[in-house]
């Protein structure tokens, strides 16, 4: 028996090995095959048409850069705009955004419009290297060539800033070219924007902005173990200690039952009748969406409304529904009622209502905890230039007190969400800041 099993086992192993090698080769091929497309071959790239630098193109590019909030990632705190260097935390280590100013050595000064298009569309650097998908090329691949050229013209019209890109600090093997090729084989296909003829022009424009340059899904989707967007589950994503709620679900950031007007107001000013923006989204409104034209914001609203297909997420929580304690109620009266009202009704234009507020009721409570711990202002937009601020309660209240008052809020005035524990608060105290 033993003698006959030996060769059989060996043969099986050999076949398995061969299958694995072939599979790996195929995956590799799928990951890098775009390198042979005519637009990507080096000679073809440099032979492309001269770079458009007309004023109209620069202005269009400046607008698109805001639509994508490129500056948000490509500027470090206090640094020159678009000169990169901001550390982006990922589950695989830290990457740094790159210098997009026209400096020849450290920026993209030596790039052509075609090189730039290749980065946007194929996720490849000028030298053909595969880029780390922290740069959301799964989204920007949908950007039209003319828009990519305008963005490039805008970036090249700015002053060059010499600032070397810090080396990425990704754990091995993430970030190596073979790993990226494998990742791309599994999760990335260059896409060409195709309007849906059955939908309105506004819907299509919205879909183009939201799915392409706006890269909303980059934050508002959960990611699988390999960092690829997972929209099937209709769960939001984690950003800098905040939860970017799902745009696909009611009860999260789903907008199916919102008026188009309210969506536009929120993205234009940062505050609206039904919500206000905080955390990383405040940055997006401040640097990005507030500058979009009325037709574009309306288009975005039309598309966002159509995205919501999921019902509220039922969270499995062992915590009882919020049965506020007397202590929680007392804390509310002392610290919160002055602004948010005795019945959580808020003050229009200044303080959000807490009764029926979905950020209060969401299953994932971290944003609520973050807001209480850190306090904050709505973004100072042109439409809301002098926002009201909330104190950072981490200097006033213990974790237990914050849990008690939030449990009260989540169970009062018709609210019905799970109680929070001291631990739910403690794990966010002293959270990260870029």
């Amino acid at each position: 028996m033993r003698r006959r099993l030996g060769p059989l086992l060996a043969r099986t192993l050999l076949v398995a090995l061969a299958v694995m090698v072939i599979a790996a080769a195929l995956l590799w091929w799928f990951g890098v095959r775009d390198a042979l497309e005519p637009s990507v071959v080096a000679g073809a790239v440099s032979a492309q048409a001269p770079q458009p630098r007309q004023a109209a193109s620069v202005a269009a590019g400046a607008y698109l850069a805001r639509a994508g909030n490129c500056k948000g990632c490509h500027t470090r705190r206090g640094g020159a705009e678009y000169a990169g260097g901001r550390a982006i935390e990922t589950p695989f280590g830290v990457v740094h955004s790159s210098n997009l100013t026209p400096d020849a050595l450290t920026g993209i000064g030596a790039w052509s419009a075609a090189d730039f298009w290749r980065a946007m569309h194929h996720g490849r650097s000028r030298d053909g290297r595969l880029l780390v998908p922290a740069f959301p090329y799964a989204n920007t691949t949908r950007v039209l060539r003319e828009d990519s050229d305008a963005l490039f013209a805008f970036l090249m019209s700015r002053a060059a800033v010499e600032q070397a890109n810090p080396a990425p600090a990704l754990r091995w093997p993430f970030g190596t070219q073979p790993a990226l090729a494998l990742w791309r084989a599994l999760y990335f296909r260059p896409a060409v924007w195709q309007p849906d003829a059955a939908r309105s022009p506004a819907w299509n424009r919205g879909a183009y902005l939201v799915g392409g340059l706006g890269h909303c899904s980059a934050c508002h989707s959960s990611r699988n173990a390999w960092g690829a967007e997972d929209t099937e589950r209709q769960v939001g994503g984690m950003v800098q200690g905040w939860y970017a709620p799902s745009l696909l679900r009611a009860g999260e950031a789903g907008l199916g039952d919102w008026d188009e007007r309210d969506i536009v107001a929120l993205l234009r000013t940062g505050v609206g009748a039904r919500a206000s923006v905080s955390g990383p989204m405040a940055e997006v409104v401040l640097h990005g969406t507030q500058y979009l034209s009325n037709p574009d914001l309306s288009a975005v609203a039309v598309y966002l409304r159509s995205m919501q297909t999921g019902s509220p997420r039922v969270t499995q929580s062992s915590a009882p529904l919020g049965l506020g304690s007397a202590a929680g109620s007392r804390l509310y009266e002392k610290h919160c009622a002055n602004c948010h009202g005795d019945s959580g009704e808020g003050v229009s234009g200044a303080y959000p209502a807490l009764a029926g507020n979905r950020a209060v009721l969401m299953g994932d409570s971290r944003n609520l905890v973050q807001m209480v711990l850190r306090g904050g202002f709505a973004p100072a937009t042109d439409g809301n230039p002098r926002p009201f601020g909330m104190p950072p309660y981490q200097v006033l209240l213990s974790d237990g007190d914050i849990a008690a008052v939030l449990t009260h809020i989540r169970g009062a005035w018709g609210n019905s969400a799970a109680a929070l524990s001291e631990l739910d608060v403690a794990r966010h105290r002293g959270g990260p800041l870029r």
Partner: protein
């Protein structure tokens, strides 16, 4: 405006007159240009305190200036200085008022005003602040954790300041009562030729290093 600024009160106190915990500085009545510079320093990473940075991150320059002017315009009485554990020595007073030419340390008063109550619009007063706060600022400047616009005159001064001297200065400063006119001086003091220029306070003049 007070209603819009409630986010500031838990640390900086009602009307910005400092809270009882003995660390966070009073902001009421400080020169507006100084406060504006500090708000921008937090937003732009020249000063580091996560809570402050998080608060000012989404705010515009225009609003930060309005905030600075609001707190600057609050003229409120000061309380008596906190009781010190040790008596303030001569060395602290000498450094604050005369400096130490041998070590290249200018007097605090040569920039912060002869009464040490600051100079409009950019130079802060040094009196009425908790000693812990003063110590933390000198320490942060020494390690590069706190910075000002370049040329950073304060960083250059602090680099020449030994730990014992820094401690002597803060002990003396924190023990001083405010003068009858606690507000910042209207005019920059006459400084010695060759004094260091300050990027954050052009009104002081001085030479670039």
């Amino acid at each position: 405006m007070a209603q819009r600024m409630l986010a500031c009160t838990p640390c900086h106190g009602e009307q910005g007159r400092a809270a009882p915990d003995g660390y966070y500085p009073r902001i009421a009545g400080k020169p507006a240009g100084y406060l504006f510079n500090q708000l921008r320093n937090f937003r732009e990473g020249r000063r580091h305190y996560a809570l402050m940075a998080g608060l000012v991150d989404p705010l515009s320059d225009a609003y930060l200036l309005e905030i600075a002017r609001y707190f600057s315009a609050l003229k409120l009485p000061y309380g008596p200085p906190a009781a010190m554990a040790a008596p303030a020595g001569r060395r602290g007073e000498t450094l604050a008022l005369k400096g130490d030419a041998a070590l290249g340390i200018p007097a605090c008063a040569s920039c912060h005003g002869s009464a040490l109550t600051g100079v409009v619009p950019h130079v802060p007063g040094l009196l009425g602040l908790p000693r812990d706060y003063l110590n933390a600022q000198l320490g942060a400047w020494k390690t590069g954790h706190r910075r000002a616009q370049s040329p950073d005159c304060m960083a250059q001064v602090v680099r020449r300041l030994g730990d014992d001297d820094a401690a002597a200065i803060t002990l003396w400063l924190a023990a001083q009562a405010l003068p009858g006119q606690p507000g910042p001086a209207g005019k920059a003091p006459q400084r010695a030729p060759g004094s260091i220029a300050c990027g954050s306070a052009p009104e002081l003049g001085g030479a670039s290093p």
